[in-house]
């Protein structure tokens, strides 16, 4: 075993034997996400940032394997040189961003609805269990149904099932052509159009709607072959944004540097396509209306009841500096929680890994 891994293994097994808890971290840029960490010294860090490096990259097989501590920027630069990308456009929060953190949080960017979730691109993982033994699930091939898909299960698990040490990802070619259109539309009309495009062959790769003085503005990014994008531009109408402005605009949303993201608390609400306006204050929409960023002091239970009625979920995304007794994530139905709880008990029977990060109670 590699020396770094042996060191992790010793730390993990040692913590387990002593009944200590481990909270897993990479670059620490995403620790804001999830249940707040206890302020006492009831846990110790398992820091994966030293376990880094791209292990294999086969551009023509669309597969890249890297260790958890590899900086996201290193991976993206490497892909860029081959004209490829991470299709799920993970947000970048700083130079410390690691692949492990990106997988553990499972956050995707503007292309989410067109490309699918982060988990759609995870082909294989290596995971350490409580006695320090390393397990390998999935692999470096696109199609693989041997055993249960634990790799996809680990996406968004916030470390509660153990440290993800290595990840194999499906990567995608960059689109040949990209154009951003801007349409002046109020919220209801913007939502209506976004739904209409679902059933039409228009290569929408991202949308964003923001209110303004006269109603609002819907930005639509089209990506694909030049001809498909050109046809899309004709169908949609509106003004074409110059490339540099467009690029900066989508980066602001992707990396959450847009002013909207500075507000606290910041709620992240996901809804089924076609869900109406929530009508409760200033909203920023992405993902063809399926993602709504909200700000303001909402009573969590009331907001969640309203959102659930529409088929969606509401989580307190940025809660630093605000105090609230309700859980950060929208609690799923009791039966679903029970299964998740049993899964946690089965895979981490001693409760060593990142307790309470996903749910306050386990």
């Amino acid at each position: 075993m590699e020396p770094v891994l042996s060191r992790f293994g010793e730390q993990v097994a040692g913590a387990r034997a002593a009944g200590r808890k481990l909270v897993i971290r990479g670059g620490g840029t995403r620790l804001f996400y999830g249940e707040p960490l206890p302020e006492d010294d009831s846990f110790e860090w398992l820091d994966l940032s030293a376990y880094r490096g791209v292990v294999a990259y086969e551009p023509s097989e669309l597969v890249l394997t890297a260790r958890a501590g590899t900086p996201l920027a290193e991976i993206e630069a490497l892909l860029d040189r081959e004209g490829q990308m991470l299709a799920f456009e993970p947000p970048r929060f700083g130079a410390g961003d690691t692949l492990g953190g990106c997988i553990a949080t499972g956050l995707a960017g503007p292309r989410r609805l067109a490309a699918g979730p982060v988990s759609d691109y995870v082909l294989g993982t290596r995971l350490m269990r409580g006695d320090g033994e390393v397990m390998h699930f999935g692999g470096e091939v696109m199609k693989n149904v041997a055993g249960y898909d634990l790799s996809r299960l680990l996406v968004g698990s916030l470390g509660v099932l153990g440290p993800v040490l290595e990840v194999s990802l499906k990567v995608m070619p960059k689109p040949r052509s990209e154009v951003t259109l801007v349409l002046a539309l109020d919220e209801a009309e913007a939502l209506r159009r976004c739904v209409q495009w679902r059933s039409q062959p228009i290569p929408v790769s991202a949308t964003a709607w923001l209110p303004d003085g006269s109603g609002g503005q819907l930005s639509v990014r089209l990506s694909g072959n030049a001809s498909a994008v050109r046809e899309g531009v004709e169908k949609l109408g509106g003004g074409v944004l110059d490339a540099a402005t467009a690029c900066a605009f989508w980066l602001g949303l992707r990396d959450q540097t847009h002013d909207f993201f500075n507000q606290r608390p910041l709620w992240r609400v996901t809804l089924p396509p076609g869900a109406p306006s929530l009508g409760i204050g200033r909203e920023l929409h992405e993902w063809q209306g399926c993602l709504r960023w909200l700000t303001g002091m909402h009573a969590p239970d009331a907001l969640r009841a309203k959102v659930r009625k529409l088929g969606g979920w509401a989580s307190r995304y940025r809660h630093d500096g605000t105090s609230d007794a309700s859980p950060v994530f929208h609690p799923p139905a009791p039966a679903v929680i029970r299964v998740q709880q049993r899964l946690k008990q089965q895979l981490d029977p001693d409760g060593v890994f990142s307790p309470h990060r996903l749910y306050p109670d386990f």
Partner: protein
């Protein structure tokens, strides 16, 4: 190491002979909950269920139950738990890995009566269907709205969407449009523990652990699927296919590499070796080049302009990769003709040979030539012929081993040949199953692909959903004893016999 020991102990316990089923009690309980027409117990009624698409394995089930709705299904599952009766869920029975092979002391629960499309929302391009709905029926229902359901296994006229979910089925278009797991938005599942859970849903990113995608491909071992929410896509305006001949398999593989490296993700990218071409051409008369060592079919779909743009690019790439002949379908009829042979590969094997065995391994594509070369040597070793169709874009191989079950020893030789193929797939960094599942067929090979710790983790997942271990017992996860008996060990990554594999 304490937890390792604890895990092994738990696995050993799960593997221990289960409590003897109380069949009389079970029958009485389901008799109270279900109309008698839903319970098939006479030998002539249950015979049709004795095997699935992998006909080498047969087991006539003592009883088959066909519940009409979820309430009845839950009643049956409750009775199974109370009376310790193993359960084999069944869709259309087309599994090629023995996933739906009955248990000698168990009940087969068929979802044939769960055959309704509950919702088809053309504007939002979403459908909610019951698990017994046939894959193709979804696309047929969506067609009047210009929509379709993308994953298209060759068995799509027969297989059920519930079975597709259980096996994470793929099709020729999955390179571009994804597997079942990429097209299912939500599931309603009755777990082995008896809970009804809604996983995923129409809204993206459901909170908590990703149980939705864990359940896809879980081969009916975690729960029974009672509802599936799928996304629909607009039907492409046009599809055209480029057919190219190559003088060697390497050259064809090289063409695939160039196409993908050029940033083209074709709608379909399939390779047939010469044996496969010679096998199918007499039946379909597709006009295949019988002199080619390999034929590549590369499909492009989308708007008319887009397709023309991409086809031009693909043609040029094929030529530079050394294609000896390149043809582009000029009409829909011609496109279908080019595909006919690929689609008829299994049927043709069935006509030329009394029996055939379809394998399903995946390899990193860079090893294609070496792997096909090794298959040729295996043909000599096992004295059986093998032809290859290959989902070239994603590395999924379907070798067809031809044999005659009436010849003494041929079944065993075919099985040994198959096992050797799968072990080679693992050795080069691939997997023992790309889309057909492990079932009972590949349970030994699981010992080769996974370490005990990994198999224990699968067993742990199973216990979380199905603590009594009643759903599809004896499938997918081999016991310690089974692996010891098989005598082949997991190939550890560091000890790969191919130190020359190019590493980044």
């Amino acid at each position: 190491m304490k937890s390792g020991v604890a895990l092994e102990a738990a696995t050993a316990q799960a593997a221990k002979a289960p409590v003897t089923p109380d069949f009389a009690g079970f029958l009485a309980a389901i008799g109270r909950a279900l109309p008698s027409a839903c319970i098939l117990a006479r030998a002539e009624q249950t015979r049709a269920y004795e095997c699935d698409g992998l006909t080498m394995y047969r087991e006539q089930p003592p009883v088959v139950v066909l519940p009409e709705d979820e309430t009845q299904l839950i009643a049956v599952l409750n009775a199974c738990r109370a009376h310790h009766v193993p359960v084999v869920p069944r869709g259309a029975g087309t599994s090629l890995s023995g996933g739906a092979t009955p248990h000698p002391q168990g009940v087969v629960i068929g979802v044939a009566k769960f055959n309704r499309i509950l919702k088809l929302d053309p504007e939002r391009a979403i459908a909610v269907v019951q698990p017994g709905v046939r894959n193709l029926a979804i696309s047929e229902a969506a067609a009047p709205h210009g929509l379709y359901y993308a994953p298209d296994p060759s068995s799509q006229i027969a297989c059920s969407i519930g079975g597709n979910v259980a096996e994470n089925a793929g099709g020729v278009h999955c390179l571009k449009y994804g597997l079942t797991v990429h097209n299912v938005l939500g599931l309603r599942v009755v777990t082995g523990a008896g809970e009804v859970v809604e996983l995923g849903g129409e809204a993206p990113d459901a909170p908590g652990l990703n149980l939705l995608q864990l359940c896809v491909g879980s081969e009916g071992m975690l729960g029974m699927v009672t509802e599936v929410t799928v996304k629909l896509l607009p039907r492409p305006e046009l599809a055209r296919v480029v057919m190219a001949s190559f003088a060697s398999v390497e050259r064809a593989g090289e063409a695939v590499t160039r196409i993908i490296a050029a940033g083209v993700i074709p709608a379909g990218l399939e390779l047939m070796d010469q044996r496969a071409v010679k096998l199918v051409e007499p039946f379909v008369q597709a006009g295949y080049d019988l002199d080619a060592a390999a034929i590549l079919l590369c499909e492009s779909d989308g708007t008319t302009e887009e397709v023309c743009e991409e086809i031009g690019r693909v043609e040029a790439l094929m030529a530079t990769a050394g294609a000896t002949r390149v043809q582009v379908s000029a009409s829909e009829a011609e496109r279908l003709r080019f595909w006919a042979g690929r689609k008829a590969a299994f049927a043709a094997a069935g006509r030329i040979s009394p029996d055939y065995y379809c394998m399903d391994g995946t390899i990193p594509r860079r090893h294609l030539a070496r792997v096909l070369g090794a298959f040729e040597e295996m043909e000599a070793t096992y004295g059986l012929a093998c032809s290859n169709v290959f989902h070239a874009g994603d590395g999924n191989l379907h070798p067809l081993i031809l044999f005659d079950a009436n010849q003494p020893g041929e079944v065993e030789r075919a099985q040994a040949f198959g096992a050797a193929i799968l072990e080679l797939c693992v050795e080069v960094g691939g997997t023992i199953t790309g889309e057909h599942g492990v079932g009972i067929e590949k349970i030994n090979e699981m010992c080769v692909q996974f370490t005990r710790a990994e198999l224990d983790a699968f067993a742990a997942v199973k216990r979380a959903f199905d603590p009594q271990g009643l759903l599809n017992p004896l499938k997918v996860i081999p016991t310690l004893a089974r692996c010891a008996e098989y005598g082949k060990q997991h190939v550890h990554r560091g000890e790969l016999p191919f130190p020359d594999i190019p590493r980044f």
